[in-house]
């Protein structure tokens, strides 16, 4: 009888058995299987714990409202498709606008360059014309009617003719034998 009592599960073993029976030593597990007293003690505790769970469940209220989920995945996907479609459209439009700007810009730049070149050519031509006029003026600054007066416009009035019209004073000095008055 004493031996049998000693072999009974201690309280620590009993609690250990409730936590996890397989954690007990093989001999204690064997004892638990065969000893009605230990078995009932363990069952008593386990029943109280089961009762605790059942009562808690019984005495807890039921949820008053159903869980409301946010926008569903399918809707989100549809929205995302819609946004993707819109994004593609916008991207396409932006690309098209960018292409138009580039093409227009290139043409504009080219046109501007051509216009610039034409203007430059015109300017060079005008400069050349101006330089020609300046050169002409530097050769003969007098206007044409002044040239008529001065006789420059008459090619027959050469130097001999002019000497004839207005003789040189040097010739007078030679003819008077050096005794003349010198101016």
């Amino acid at each position: 009888m004493t031996k049998e009592k000693e072999a009974h599960l201690k309280e620590t073993d009993l609690l250990q058995a409730v936590v996890d029976e397989t954690d007990l030593s093989a001999s204690l597990q064997e004892h638990l299987k065969t000893c009605r007293l230990c078995r009932s003690e363990k069952d008593r505790l386990e029943l109280a714990l089961a009762e605790l769970g059942d009562r808690a469940e019984h005495f807890a209220p039921s949820p008053g409202r159903r869980v409301a989920l946010p926008v569903g995945e399918s809707t989100r996907r549809a929205l995302s498709w819609y946004w993707n479609w819109r994004r593609t459209l916008v991207a396409g439009m932006v690309t098209a606008v960018a292409a138009i700007i580039v093409v227009y810009g290139t043409i504009s730049v080219r046109n501007a360059e051509e216009a610039k070149l034409a203007a430059l050519t015109q300017e060079i031509w005008e400069d050349e014309l101006l330089m020609t006029e300046i050169s002409a003026l530097s050769e003969n600054a007098l206007p044409l009617f002044c040239s008529d007066i001065s006789g420059e416009s008459y090619p027959d009035f050469d130097e001999d003719f002019m000497n004839f019209v207005v003789p040189s004073t040097e010739a007078d000095l030679v003819s008077s034998g050096g005794g003349g008055v010198r101016c």
Partner: protein, 209 residues
Amino acid sequence: MAHLDQAPSQTRMSGTGGQVTSLVERARDGGREAFGQLVELFQEPIFRMVYYRTRSRMDAEDLTQEIFVKAFKNLSKLRDPKRFRTWLFRMAVNRVTDFYRKKRLLAIFKTRDHDSEADPKEVERRQDPSALDDVIKEEFWKHVTSFSDNLSRREKEVFFLRFMDHLSIREIAQVLDKSQSAVKTHLYRGLKKFKEDPSLLQLLEASRL
């Protein structure tokens, strides 16, 4: 009682493992309806789990809502669909912890916390516990509170998850991210205190008779 490393009431409260896995896979692929079925299966256990810890129906409803919305948004992050149940409970445990953290912080600053306002129906019931069921209910929760106040935070969590939420030791280890031996240690300590609390034990034994 079935072996405690198993969760005997899992089927009763949250469908078969295969069914849940299939629903999780479908929900993960964007199946709103499949997630709706998961809500059907798990709303009550999660609501109860939160209620056991907050003892407020309103808070439990709000927190349950938040937990499922979070689960819905983060379902793609769940690698193993078989672990949905423990993943959901883990989320719930964390959310309840956050709830109490916030409550403590608000208590420090003495800010009126609208969330913690008592459910009017509950207040009414407390003031007029005319029905016998209500009296028994009051008595039961009073004893549970008294007992759980003697447990450490971890002991209480493990004890509640095991005996009130019916999770297996392996599941509790996954929920709390602890080793199974650590869970067993906390459970052992909690059980010791439970056995040493004659009032709760007597109440439970008496109600069984």
